[in-house]
Structures are given as structure tokens and as C-alpha cells.
């Protein structure tokens, strides 16, 4: 696997590429926000449980223990997971189309022929903007893959891939 980065020249080089490395820190930040939110909510629930136990010591131990373990898991998910997922995600663009590999435990390789691309979007959220990342969205006429997302591309690169995937007139459906 070549961990090639953003480069000039043709995007349709047929080389299997990793996502932009900034994806890791971006996903970490998203993870921390989600973790803080969920952890906060579960804190209220845990506190409620403790209150329902009459603020007993056993209640504190049980609620606090579960909450700490859960929050710890969330923190690990936010901190360590993005790098693991990053290592298992890659994509390839060539003259034929787009191929996306992802999944740590359940792995999938999705091939979308270029001639089947109906239209494409490149979207960029506020957090993605701070990392100069973009999400490429490819639409096909299919059922499971009517919409395929590829997030974590450098925004400029996403735009260039989109340019490449766009139907070039010859695909003008009847």
C-alpha cells in the first residue's frame, strides 16, 4: 500500500492512497465533542441513579463505576480509534472509476464505475473547514450505494476527483 499524499498531476493515477493525514486529528476532535456530550448526558443519568438509591455509598460506587468505565471507553474511542480507522481506509481513482476500502473488523471494498456516477457533491462542514478537509459524495442509480461518502480528503483533492468523475458528455443518458 502506497501512502501517497496530495500531489499535483492527474488524480486518476490508479494508485491506492490513504486519506489526508489531517483526517486523524479531525476525527479525534469530532470524537471528543461527541464523547463530551454523551458523557455529560450519562453523568446526569448516573447521578439520577445515585439519587434513586438514596445517595448511598453502594449507589455511588455502582453509578460512578459504570459512568467512569463508559466515559473511559468514549475517551479511548475519541483518541485512539481515528488512527486505527485511518490505517484501514484507502481509495483508488483510475480511468475506470473509484474504489473505496474501509472497515477495521468488517471490511468492505466498494467499486463504483465512473460511467455509473449520476452526480457528485463535495461538502465541507465547519470543523472540516478548519482542517481543510472535504467530503466527496458520489450518487449512483443503485439501491445500496445510491449515495457513497468518502470523507477525509483534502478539500482541493476532493474537488479534483469530482472533476474527474463527472460525466464527460458521452454519458448523456439516452
Amino acid at each position: 500500500m502506497t501512502a501517497g499524499l496530495d500531489c499535483d498531476g492527474d488524480v486518476a493515477d490508479g494508485v491506492e492512497r490513504r486519506l489526508d493525514p489531517r483526517q486523524v486529528s479531525y476525527q479525534q476532535r469530532v470524537g471528543w465533542i461527541v464523547a463530551a456530550f454523551v458523557s455529560g448526558l450519562s453523568f446526569i443519568a448516573a447521578f439520577g441513579f445515585w439519587a434513586s438509591m438514596g445517595f448511598s455509598l453502594v449507589g455511588l460506587a455502582a453509578a460512578g463505576g459504570v459512568w467512569l468505565a463508559f466515559s473511559g471507553l468514549l475517551a479511548w474511542r475519541a483518541h485512539a480509534w481515528p488512527a486505527i480507522a485511518y490505517g484501514h481506509t484507502s481509495y483508488k481513482v483510475d480511468a475506470q472509476g473509484l474504489e473505496i476500502r474501509r472497515g477495521v473488523f468488517w471490511r468492505t471494498i466498494t467499486s463504483i464505475p465512473r460511467s455509473r456516477v449520476q452526480h457528485t457533491d463535495v461538502s465541507q462542514g465547519p470543523l472540516e473547514r478548519t482542517h481543510e478537509l472535504g467530503t466527496l459524495v458520489v450518487y449512483t442509480a443503485g439501491t445500496d450505494h445510491a449515495r457513497v461518502n468518502l470523507s477525509g480528503l483534502a478539500h482541493a483533492r476532493a474537488l479534483r476527483i469530482r472533476e474527474h468523475l463527472l460525466p464527460k458528455g458521452e454519458a448523456d443518458a439516452i
Binding site: 475506470q96 472509476g97 474504489e99 472497515g103 473488523f105 468488517w106 471490511r107 468492505t108 471494498i109 466498494t110 467499486s111 463504483i112 464505475p113 465512473r114 460511467s115 455509473r116 449512483t140 442509480a141 443503485g142 439501491t143 445500496d144 450505494h145 457513497v148 458521452e170 454519458a171 443518458a173 439516452i174
Partner: protein
């Protein structure tokens, strides 16, 4: 100059009729209440609904215009909120037509236009003169942009079902329960079910009859008399036979005069005794074809064939559902020519390639686990007798896994990819390479341990529950190879809607 067309004047009646139908149930409830406790004048209240409904029907008729432009169909409607819908001919997937008894009496037709977008028909045109459908078909599916008189093309009958075949279809497909369920629902709503089933319920049907006695006797571990068993078995047998007979009647009424014809590049499907359905599916818009057969089908050497198009994904009102029936029942020996015709391929079936030999081991593990769990739960619930379940379930799961694994097969040759699965109930799906939208290779952790993967082919217009080309238990390298090949072949062909 493109001509503008209106609906048939009786549209007003049908439109009004639909409002009446929607109003029927609340109206009925209102009447019942009014009879029981005289109070507010119900007639006046009903007028309050009916007069606007009639007015809307008239306005709808007056405002509706249909125009054939060079490249598109233009439908204008509405008075206050004007709506002009442009539907390019090239985007129309299929034209369906419905003719119920009243439509037929008045020689009119309701047309539904399906495009690839969404579940709803793009436009429902109710109603046009019956001859207008031919006109529309000609204009919409004509290759030439400019409408011109097309020479009358030969109509080729691919399948015509005799009443005997329809009866057999009803028998095999066994939709009787649906009909009986619907009837029971109506009876229950009207409130006469108690009177009808009351005397019966004491005997065999409902919860306080002998069926319950029997089940209770079994569960308690007490003795069951031979007479009780005979009556129970007899009742079940009679019920099953009645269900099948109802289903046969249903099939004849629904599919009476089923004809599948090919006119130039279109498939036409017509059927129905009271309500006639006509569907037009251009051959090039066939996305996938699924052949299915149950154990009884094999006994009679029949199969049933469905077709998937990208238009109209609903199955709610039954029309879209049945439109997919390419052949409700087909002799097995006529299957291959039909598939070849519809798939436009010389050869559709080379030998099936089996899946990885390790498939059985993985299947049987899962099924044994389930069988053991069920046995354990049953034994826990009703005592040692529950272990009897295991005596049946465990050998059965081994047998079923063995047979299932040996019936998995796929083939990808020429321009068609196909996948077959199932032991007692078998399904086979064919798709043309030029209709493949995306190809996915999946590996679960179990797959990776066994060096296997599954390949799934995505086509347009597939239903949630329909049989798909989703080949499990492939050897990892075979799967990767297949994915590459399918993606490459798909990329080579241009997808036309």
C-alpha cells in the same frame, strides 16, 4: 405545434368518486351515530364535504392539460397553485395503466408514469380515453424525437396463461390467507363476525375450542385421545384446503387473461378480470430478473419470474408489485428462452460455480447454535419434553445447512451475472453487466478467519426484501477477482436509464 390534450370528461366522476371513497368510512360512522342519537343534521354536514369535493373534481378536470413536446411530456394542473411538470421521455421508466370495471364501461383508462425518482409514480393521469394510451406509448417510447406515424410492429406473444395455469398458480402461490384475512377484517368491522364464527368457535376455530384443549393437554403432559388428534388434524387439513381454493379463485380474478407480449423493444404485460392492468416495460430498462420456485413448484416443473425496473418501488397498492410479474407461472423448459429474450443474451446459463467448500462448516455452526438455543429454551419452559424439539431440530439444521451450501452458486459469463440460492425455496437473480451500479466486496471477521469474502452487486430499483446478487462464502481471491472483473465490465458499458 404540439397539441394540448385534456382529460376525458368523465374524469370528474372518477375524481369525485375517489373523494367519496375517502369519505366513506367517516361518513358511515356519522350515519350510524346519527341513527342512534338524533341530533345534528348529518345530511347537512355531509353536504359540507361533498360540495367542495365536487367542485374540486370539476376544477381539476378543467385545469388539467397534457402536452407532448419534442423531448418531453408537459403536464399542467392547478388553478391557484399552478404546476407545470416536465417529464423528459428519456426519463420515463415505464407506463402503467389501470382499468377497473367502471373505467372499462366508460372506455377510459388511468395512466401512471414511472420515472426513476422516488417511490411514487411521477404522474397519475386519471382518466384518459382508452385509445390515448397507445398514443402515449408511441410518443414516449419512440426513438425519434419527432412524433411520426410508426409502422405497426409485430406483436410477439411470449407468454399467455390459460385458466388452468392460473388455477395452478393460485394453488402454488397460496395467497388465500391474505384474502381470508381481508374478508375477516371486513366482517369484523361490520360486526357480523361474532354471529358467523360464534357457533364455529365452540368447535375448532377459536381460542376456546378443542384446539386449546389439545394444546393444554399436550403441555400438561396428560393423555390425548386419538379422537382429539383426528379432529385437530382434520380441521387443519380442511382449513389448508380452503385457503388454497380461495387462493385459486383470487388468482383467476386478478390475473385473468395474463399476456406477456413483446412489441418492438417493449414488454407489455396485461391481466385482470374486473380491473385490467397494462404495464409497458421497455426491454432496455429491465434491471434484474428473479426466478423463484418452491418445493411444490418443482413438483409441477414450474417457476415464477419477476422483473425489476428502476421505476416505481412501491408495492403498497399492489400494482407495482404485480407489474413485476414477468411470468407468474412458467414451465421450467420455457424459462431459458424467456430469460435470454429479456436479458438479450445468447447464453444466460453456463454451469453454476459453487462457493467455497468451507461454506457448509460455517453455515452449520450458526444453525446448530440456533437449534441448541431453541431446544434449551423449550426444555426450560416445558420440561424434559422440550428436548424432543432438539431431536428434530439438530439433524434438520445439519441437513438444511448441507443442502443450502450445495445449492449456492453463481456465474458471470458473457454479459450476464447470476446468483442462485436456497434449498427448498430457491431464488435465482440475473442482471446484465450493463446494469451494475456498484460492486462491493465484504469481509466479516469470520470471513477473514476462513479466507472468504462476499461479493454484492448493486442494481437500480431493487427492493428491500428482494433477492439480490449477493454471493457469500467465496474464496478470498475468487471474490477479489470477481469484483475486479464485474467492475471493469460495468465500467466498459454505458449505463442508460
Amino acid at each position: 405545434m404540439p397539441s394540448e390534450e385534456r382529460l376525458h370528461p368523465v374524469s370528474i366522476l372518477f375524481s369525485f368518486g375517489r373523494s367519496l371513497k375517502a369519505f366513506a368510512l367517516p361518513g358511515l360512522v356519522g350515519l350510524v351515530i346519527a341513527v342512534r342519537q338524533p341530533g345534528p343534521n348529518v345530511d347537512a354536514w355531509m353536504m359540507l364535504f361533498l360540495i367542495p369535493a365536487a367542485a374540486i373534481a370539476v376544477v381539476r378536470y378543467l385545469s388539467f392539460r397534457l402536452r407532448y413536446e419534442g423531448e418531453e411530456l408537459v403536464i399542467r394542473s392547478g388553478v391557484i397553485f399552478r404546476n407545470e411538470r416536465h417529464i423528459p421521455y428519456a426519463r420515463i421508466q415505464n407506463l402503467d395503466a389501470v382499468q377497473n370495471v367502471f373505467h372499462r364501461l366508460l372506455r377510459v383508462i388511468e395512466v401512471r408514469i414511472q420515472t426513476g425518482a422516488g417511490a411514487e409514480p411521477e404522474a397519475t393521469i386519471s382518466v384518459l380515453p382508452a385509445a390515448a394510451l397507445d398514443e402515449m406509448r408511441r410518443r414516449v417510447f419512440a426513438r425519434e424525437a419527432t412524433p411520426q406515424p410508426v409502422p405497426r410492429v409485430e406483436e410477439r406473444v411470449l407468454l399467455q396463461m390459460s385458466p388452468g395455469e392460473l388455477l395452478l398458480h393460485g394453488f402454488l402461490v397460496n395467497r388465500g390467507m391474505v384474502v381470508i384475512g381481508a374478508l375477516y377484517g371486513i366482517l369484523w368491522q361490520v360486526g357480523i363476525s361474532d354471529r358467523m364464527f360464534g357457533p364455529l368457535a365452540g368447535n375448532a376455530v377459536a381460542e376456546n375450542g378443542r384446539v386449546r384443549d389439545l394444546i393444554e393437554a399436550v403441555l400438561r403432559g396428560g393423555g390425548v385421545s386419538a379422537g382429539q388428534i383426528a379432529i385437530a388434524v382434520g380441521a387443519v387439513a380442511v382449513f389448508l384446503i380452503v385457503v388454497r381454493i380461495v387462493s385459486m379463485g383470487w388468482a383467476v380474478v386478478r390475473l385473468y387473461g395474463f399476456r406477456l407480449t413483446q412489441v418492438a423493444e417493449d414488454l407489455r404485460i396485461e391481466y385482470g378480470l374486473f380491473t385490467r392492468f397494462t404495464a409497458t416495460v421497455p426491454l432496455r430498462r429491465v434491471q434484474a430478473v428473479t426466478v423463484s420456485e418452491g418445493p411444490l413448484y418443482r413438483l409441477f416443473e414450474r417457476v415464477s419470474v419477476r422483473v425489476e425496473t428502476a421505476g416505481g418501488r412501491t408495492g403498497q397498492d399492489g400494482t407495482a408489485n404485480a407489474r413485476e410479474w414477468l411470468a407468474p407461472l412458467l414451465r421450467r423448459d420455457r424459462l431459458e428462452p424467456l430469460i435470454a429474450e429479456v436479458m438479450r443474451a445468447q447464453k444466460t446459463r453456463s454451469a453454476w460455480t459453487p462457493v467455497h467448500p468451507g461454506a457448509f462448516r460455517r453455515l452449520v455452526k450458526r444453525r446448530l447454535l440456533l437449534a441448541v438455543l431453541v431446544t434449551a429454551v423449550t426444555a426450560f419452559a416445558i420440561g424434559w419434553r422440550g428436548l424432543l424439539v432438539g431431536v428434530v431440530a439438530i439433524p434438520w439444521s445439519v441437513l438444511a445447512a448441507r443442502r443450502y451450501a450445495s445449492h449456492l452458486g453463481w456465474t458471470a459469463s458473457g454479459s450476464v451475472v447470476a446468483f442462485t440460492s436456497g434449498w427448498l425455496w430457491r431464488s435465482t437473480t440475473f442482471a446484465r453487466m450493463s446494469r451494475i451500479q456498484a460492486v462491493t466486496l465484504r469481509e466479516s471477521p469470520f470471513d477473514r478467519r476462513a479466507g472468504m469474502a462476499r461479493v454484492r452487486v448493486d442494481t437500480a430499483g431493487a427492493h428491500e426484501r428482494s433477492h439480490r446478487i449477493d454471493i457469500p462464502y467465496l474464496e478470498r481471491d475468487t471474490a477479489a477477482d470477481l469484483q475486479l472483473r464485474l467492475a471493469a465490465q460495468a465500467a466498459d458499458t454505458q449505463f442508460h436509464w
